[in-house]
């Protein structure tokens, strides 16, 4: 009899934590590394804001909220889904054989191949930035809006995760997808930090409908700040932001499992 998925998840997390704790030195290093990467990003945004004051009609504190949302969403992705980028290695070393031989969804085994303890650093920094940003921005908080904000952060994390998952699924057929990982990282890392209207109508349409970066931070920030007129699409769509992440993620996981049928298992 198979264990329930919940039991399986508990077992897998137990193993990944134990694995992570085998390398305590690495852990400290990567915590510092992760924080440094975040700091660089903050610095970059800071420079832009102090040089230009406002971006696309959004004041510094409004852009700060956008950046805070984006960082929080990224932290969610990084903590729960970062191991998705290991799929290349997992496929090419044949570690994926093992995933296929266990009575647990393969995708779950990929996510838990290591516990992302180092990404806790991301979460703290993101929470701090978002906290400061929320205080500085003038938002008329209601219970519904707070709920929307939290759900959007999770949804934003899921959007980034779904893009990376689809990218990961390419590894089953392509020998090398490094270039794709970089592309998605820099696309998400760069463009979701800005109010997208500054790139003009075509770009904002592209990031809304083709690669839905608009819903990682831009759309929810516009709702919170009462600036949905800048979006270029109806506010109702922006209000549905929290739904997009879960839908895209379900699609992405389905694609991942379908693509895994092309796995060719390196010779043995």
């Amino acid at each position: 009899m198979a264990a329930s998925t919940l039991t399986a998840l508990r077992v897998l997390i137990r193993l990944s934590l134990a694995t992570e704790l085998q390398y305590r030195v690495n852990l400290l290093q990567s915590l510092i590394g992760g924080a440094a990467a975040q700091a660089t990003q903050l610095l970059f945004i800071g420079v832009i804001l102090t040089s230009f004051g406002a971006i696309g009609g959004w004041s510094a504190s409004e852009v700060m909220l956008l950046v805070g949302l984006r960082m929080a969403a990224h932290a969610i992705y990084a903590f729960f889904f970062r191991r998705v980028i290991d799929n290349d290695r997992v496929v090419h070393t044949g570690e994926f054989d093992r995933y296929l031989l266990r009575p647990v969804p393969a995708f779950l085994q990929l996510l838990t191949r290591q516990f992302n303890l180092q990404q806790l650093g991301d979460i703290f920094i993101a929470a701090a930035v978002l906290g400061v940003a929320v205080r500085n921005a003038s938002i008329d908080w209601t219970f519904g809006l707070a709920l929307f904000c939290g759900a959007s952060v999770i949804g934003g994390g899921l959007i980034e995760a779904s893009l990376q998952t689809i990218r990961a699924a390419a590894a089953f057929r392509l020998a090398n997808t490094d270039a794709l990982i970089g592309t998605i990282d820099s696309l998400v890392g760069t463009y979701s930090n800005f109010p997208l209207q500054i790139f003009g109508g075509f770009a904002s349409a592209f990031f809304t409908f083709a690669v839905p970066l608009a819903f990682i931070a831009w759309a929810p920030a516009a709702i919170l700040l009462n600036r949905s007129a800048d979006l270029g699409f109806p506010a109702e769509i922006a209000w549905s932001t929290p739904a997009f992440g879960p839908i895209l993620m379900m699609l992405a996981v389905t694609v991942y499992h379908l693509e895994s049928r092309h796995y060719s298992s390196p010779g043995s």
């Binding site: 399986a8 077992v11 031989l101 043995s268």
Partner: protein, 326 residues
């Protein structure tokens, strides 16, 4: 228990060109198709132990990977314990145990014990069963001495023993063993065979075994399948195979005086040992002449100190099969 019909697996390889920008150009290189398995059908009943043989690159591992659900067949049908492995992967996982000699299924960075406990929980093995089976593994495979060593630090033989324990802990009705005896010492090999035999006898476990060690086959398998170039070359009883491909027996004669060695002969058998050897090998076809007749004809002409009869070696038989000259 295991049924496969007209199984085909085709791999695509991209030729990687030499020279500048080879990585880039390889994107556009023609893909060549390799048929690793080419129309194989087989059926294995519950409780059988089948030896799956063939030279390197024959397609054994590829076939096993299709039967386990790791690979999706290019064409053909597979069903194992009523389940199509690649389609109902998780249901299939509960029915099978797999050991690949070359690649561990264990959690590499953790002590072996952690892997076994994880498998206990993933397959809902009860605490009592776990204890009993672990003590059996300890008796047969001497697991106790390296249970707390991280898998990455285990020796090859220890690791394979760990893998074998992991694959049989939940007593799957079907066991696939792909070269499980590579790197095992003599004692461990015997222990592994004992474990397989006991699983097969007590639990009617169906076993499919790939190996290049013919002793494994002779000790364990009732039936063998030989493949080459992705095609089934022979399938049947081990005894029949020997009868068909090695229809001879050897009489080994040691003469009392070494000077006789080069003179010993019998009109009934062919001498196959090289001149100068201390022992003489006479080969005869048991269909045409009986062993006592050959022995009598030799011992009546010469004084011999020892005489023995050798059955054909499976190794020779298989070599002939692989070579394609029966």
């Amino acid at each position: 228990m295991i049924v496969a019909e007209h199984l085909v697996k085709q791999f695509h390889r991209r030729a990687v060109p030499d020279g500048p920008a080879s990585r880039f150009r390889s994107l556009f290189a023609a893909r060549e198709a390799v048929r690793a398995v080419d129309d194989i059908s087989l059926a294995i009943d519950k409780g059988e132990i089948v030896g799956f043989l063939g030279p390197n690159g024959a397609g054994k591992s590829t076939t096993i990977k299709m039967l386990t659900g790791i690979l999706v067949p290019t064409a053909g049908r597979v069903e194992v314990a009523g389940v199509v492995p690649w389609r109902h992967r998780r249901r299939n996982a509960l029915n099978i145990g797999v050991v690949f000699g070359q690649r561990s299924q264990l959690w590499f960075d953790l002590p072996l014990r952690r892997s076994l406990e994880a498998i206990r929980d993933l397959y809902s093995v009860s605490a009592a069963d776990y204890r009993n089976r672990m003590s059996q593994f300890d008796d047969l495979l001497d697991l106790g001495s390296f249970l707390d060593t991280p898998v990455r630090s285990l020796s090859l033989g220890q690791r394979i023993r760990g893998d074998l324990a992991a694959a049989t802990l939940y007593r799957p009705p079907v066991l696939y063993l792909d070269e499980p005896t590579v790197g095992l010492d003599v004692v461990a090999k015997v222990a592994l065979r004992d474990l397989i035999t006991s699983l097969n006898v007590d639990g009617r476990t169906t076993v499919m075994l790939t190996t290049h060690d013919m002793d494994d086959v002779e000790q364990l398998c009732q039936r063998i399948m030989v493949i080459d170039g992705g095609k089934m070359l022979y399938e049947g009883d081990l005894k029949d195979l020997k009868r068909r491909f090695a229809p001879y027996r050897d009489l080994i004669v040691t003469p009392r005086s070494p000077s006789d060695a080069d003179r010993i002969d019998s009109g009934l058998a062919t001498r196959v040992s090289s001149p100068g050897a201390a022992k003489v090998t006479l080969r005869f076809d048991p269909q045409e002449v009986s062993a006592p007749e050959v022995i009598h004809s030799v011992s009546s002409q010469f004084e011999v100190s020892d005489i023995s009869i050798l059955d054909p070696q499976l190794e020779d038989v298989v070599r002939r099969l692989y070579g394609g000259n029966p």
